[in-house]
Each structure stands twice: as C-alpha cells, then as structure tokens.
C-alpha cells in the first residue's frame, strides 16, 4: 500500500515525493490554449492537469439584478482523467468543486458583473466557466481555481452586431479586478501540508480550502475530509493558506 508508506513517511516529517510540507508541486501554466473559447488556461500541478475554458453568451439577467452579468461554473470529472471517475451527470465531488470555485470568484468580486449589461432587464453577458479535468493526481480544487482565474484574466468580450455575437472578433477585455487564489491545506495528525498529491489525499484526515484576495481578505472557505479539525488548528491552517496564496498569486499576471 503506497498510502501506508506515505503515512509512515509523513510521521517522520517527509513526503513521498520529497517536497516540504508547505511546498507546491511544479506549477505550469498555459494560456489561451483553446481558440474557440473567449478565454482558456491549462494548469498543471505536478501531474495533475486541468483545463478551464470561458465561453461568453447572451441571456436574460436575474430579476433581482437586472443589470448584472451572470457567472456560471461547471466541472466535469470525466473517467478520462481518473479510474475513480464515472460516466454520467456530475457527482457530488464535481458539484462541490464547481461551487467552491464559483464562490471564490463570485465573493471576491473578481469580475465586475455590473459592467456586463447589454440591455437592462433583457440581455446581459453570461460567463460560463467550464472546468475539464485531464489528469487527476490530487488537489483538483487549487488547480481548477487557478485555471479558472487565469482563463478569466485572458477572456475577451466578443463584438456585437444588432445584439448578436460575432464569434472571433473582440471588443474589450473582461473586467477582472481581483485575483482570488485558492489554497487547500491538508491535515494528517498534527502535520499541515499543502498541495496533496493523490496518495496523500487518500490519507488526509481533513482539509480546509481557503480562497483569498490580494488584500488578504478571505472570500470562501470549505472544510473537507472525513475527520473533524480541532478548533485551535483552524487559525494555523488559515495562516498557512494566506502565506501560500501570495506565492501563487505571483504566478498570475
């Protein structure tokens, strides 16, 4: 069992791939890899690989926000990416991931949705972020949130003609004003670690995912994992997330 070995190592202060506990795997970012999308990005965390694509469409605004654009986040866990994923409609893990990524973006006020009105009450931009997992080797949430942010930062708004989209021609950049970074902090015994790989995820007791803005404000949190977290440890986990978020944000230009 690789997991038992990994657990043993962690008790001895080591990780199976030799990283420090507060060290990310190698991060690779490729922008604009899908021309058909208005914005896209591929993120690799070690062997984990995720593509986020942003499509812009036109739709009716919600009645209570008649001048605001609409954000939607959707994740697919295709069996392509992992023997643990099954075909069919998104399961609870895919739903949770997309909702946590959504909250990080939405609550940080990352996108100026109020600038995305075409005709009040009738037509606004709909921003669909689709997250496509290519290879699941752990820490999908951080990878997905990062790919989504970078895709948004590279998203261009198409030109309109008679309120219809002209695909392939662009008007302006999507107004993105904050950069939320998600950092999931794992816990095994008294050890805190970040960016768990697949083996480590299997032995994690709990995980706290924290989304942070550049002003260090917390915009979303989600506790995960099968065990509880001692109350006193929560602050430590948040501190670690804050610290690491700064490091990641440097990669996002």
């Amino acid at each position: 069992m690789e997991e038992l070995y990994s657990l043993e190592l962690i008790k001895n202060g080591k990780r199976i791939d030799g990283r420090k506990f507060d060290e990310f795997r190698k991060i690779e970012i490729e922008k604009n890899i899908v021309q058909k999308a208005e914005g896209s990005a591929l993120v690799r965390l070690g062997k984990t690989e995720v593509i986020a694509g942003v499509k812009l469409g036109i739709g009716e605004p919600f009645p209570d926000t008649p001048k605001d654009g609409i954000l939607m986040v959707h994740a697919e866990f295709s069996p392509l990416a992992s023997p643990e994923f099954e075909s069919g409609p998104p399961g609870e893990d895919a739903v949770e991931l997309s909702r946590v990524v959504d909250r990080g973006i939405r609550e940080s006020k990352c996108i100026e949705l109020d600038k995305l009105c075409i005709i009040p009450k009738e037509k606004v931009w709909i921003i669909s972020i689709d997250i496509c997992i290519i290879n699941h080797q752990g820490n999908l949430l951080d990878a997905s949130a990062l790919a989504s942010l970078i895709a948004l930062l590279n998203t261009k708004i198409p030109k309109l003609k008679n309120d219809e989209i002209i695909r392939g021609e662009f008007e302006s950049k999507l107004p993105v004003v904050f950069k939320p970074i998600n950092v999931a902090v794992g816990k095994i015994g008294n050890t805190l670690l970040i960016d768990p790989n697949l083996e480590e995820e299997k032995i994690l007791e709990s995980k706290l995912s924290v989304a942070l803005r550049e002003d260090n404000k917390i915009c979303a949190m989600q506790k995960q994992g099968i065990k509880g977290i001692e109350f006193k440890n929560i602050e430590k986990m948040i501190d670690l997330a804050i610290e690491k978020s700064k490091e990641i944000r440097k990669l996002v230009k």
């Binding site: 209570d64 926000t65 609870e92 893990d93 739903v95 949770e96 997309s98 909702r99 909250r103 939405r106 609550e107 940080s108 006020k109 706290l208 803005r213 260090n216 404000k217 917390i218 915009c219 979303a220 949190m221 989600q222 506790k223 995960q224 994992g225 099968i226 065990k227 509880g228 977290i229 001692e230 109350f231 006193k232 929560i234 602050e235 948040i238 501190d239 804050i242």
Partner: protein, 238 residues
C-alpha cells in the same frame, strides 16, 4: 450577495428584534416519525427541519457494502413550498453539496467501523426555509441519530454566523442571509472541540473570521444544551 442600501440593523436591533449575538427561538422535538429508527424536528425561528434516521441496517445491493465499515448516507431536501418561489422537488446542485457536507459534518461522531457492511441513512426535509437550514438539519440529524441508538462519540451542534451591515451576528435568518456581507456555516462536536462543518462565503478579514468562529463555537454550546435537554426528556420518560 449584498444588496446596497438594505438596512438590517437599526438601533442595535436586527429586523426580527434580536441582538447581534442572540439566537432565534428554538424548538426541538424527537421521535416525530413513527416509521423511523430515530427522528427529530428542529425549529430555528421560522426555519423548520425534520430529520429521519434509518439504520444501521444491511446495505443492498451488496456491491455497495464496505467490508470494513458501515457507511453513512445523507440526503438534504427542501419542500417545494418551503421558499418564496416554488422549488422543484428534484435535487439541485445546492442540495447535492449540502447533502455531502452534512454527511461529513455528522460522520466524525459515529462509530461506523463497528458496523461493517451496514448503512445508516439520514433524510432531512426542510419544511420552511428562513435561513440557516443546513445547520438546522444537522442539529436535527444529530439528535435523531442519538435517538435511533446509533453509538456516537459526541453530539453535533451547528449554527450560522455572519456579518451584516458591518456587524458580526449569530444565526442568520433568510433576509439576513440574502443580504449578508459574509456568512459561515459551522458545526462542532461540542465536548471534543472538533469542527466538522465550516463553509464560508463573503468577504472577511482574518480577525473578523476568527471572532466569528469563536462566536459560532459559543452559540453551539447553547444549542448543545437544548439538544441534551430534549434527549434527557426522552430517556427520563422511558
């Protein structure tokens, strides 16, 4: 999401007359469903949650069984008439996520490994939704599990906290929830001090968050007393 200009606190009082750190009137009742192994109804003001527990019982079809442990399944649902605009009874993405975090909030208190190949099912129905429905459901589930005789390490007590009009408050009602600057759903094993549910959205400084977590923890102690009270009542009368 925050709508501008909505005044939720006037003269130190919230729209329902409460102080910032005051819980709503709460009501708890157990064994409300005769066909269940355990059940409970919890009211947080106008929010009404019913939980029904079945199990531990053998799990079928067999290929779902775990040979080393029992499994816990939770299903959170809202009655179509529980909200302003009729809600379709089919599960949506929100209820799928809440069902999952509810399971993880309750799981750490059970001794599932003592019941291999079995399942415990927890069904939660929100009869009326006026904010804090998921935590109301967790509180109800916790006493329903106890009443069903499921061995547990501790109770699970849950509440919401948040920030409205710049003020940190406890137990958000629906109007507050819809217009908060931040809200947090929180559950804890009160005597173990282990947090099993923690979801936050909005914008908070770390200091505000830590203050809210302490507020949540204190409020859960109060809720725990109510839970214990209703359970004591039951076993006294038996």
């Amino acid at each position: 999401m925050i709508k501008k200009g909505i005044k939720l606190i006037k003269n130190g009082k919230r729209i329902d007359g409460r102080l910032a750190k005051q819980l709503r009137d709460m009501e708890m009742k157990i064994d409300v469903i005769s066909t269940a192994d355990g059940s409970a109804k919890v009211k947080f003001g106008n929010t009404i949650a019913i939980a029904s527990v079945r199990g531990p019982r053998a799990l079928f079809p067999r290929h779902l069984q775990e040979s080393q442990t029992g499994i816990l399944r939770c299903k959170y649902a809202m009655a179509p008439f529980s909200v302003d605009e009729r809600k379709s009874p089919a599960p949506n993405r929100r209820s799928i996520e809440i069902s999952k975090v509810t399971r993880l909030a309750l799981g750490p208190t059970t001794f599932l490994e003592d019941f291999p190949k079995t399942v415990i099912d927890v069904f939660i129905e929100i009869i009326q939704a006026d904010g804090s429905t998921r935590v109301a459901g967790i509180n109800a589930s916790s006493i329903a599990l106890t009443s069903a005789g499921v061995p547990m390490r501790d109770l699970v007590s849950a509440c919401s906290v948040g920030k409205i009009n710049g003020t940190l408050v406890v137990d958000l009602n629906g109007e507050e929830d819809n217009n908060s600057e931040a809200d947090v759903a929180f559950a804890i094993l009160p005597s173990k001090d282990e947090v099993t549910l923690l979801q936050m959205d909005g914008l908070l400084t770390k200091d505000e968050l830590i203050e809210l977590l302490n507020l949540a923890k204190d409020s859960c102690k109060k809720i725990c007393e109510l839970q214990k009270g209703v359970l004591r009542e039951k076993y006294k009368s038996e």
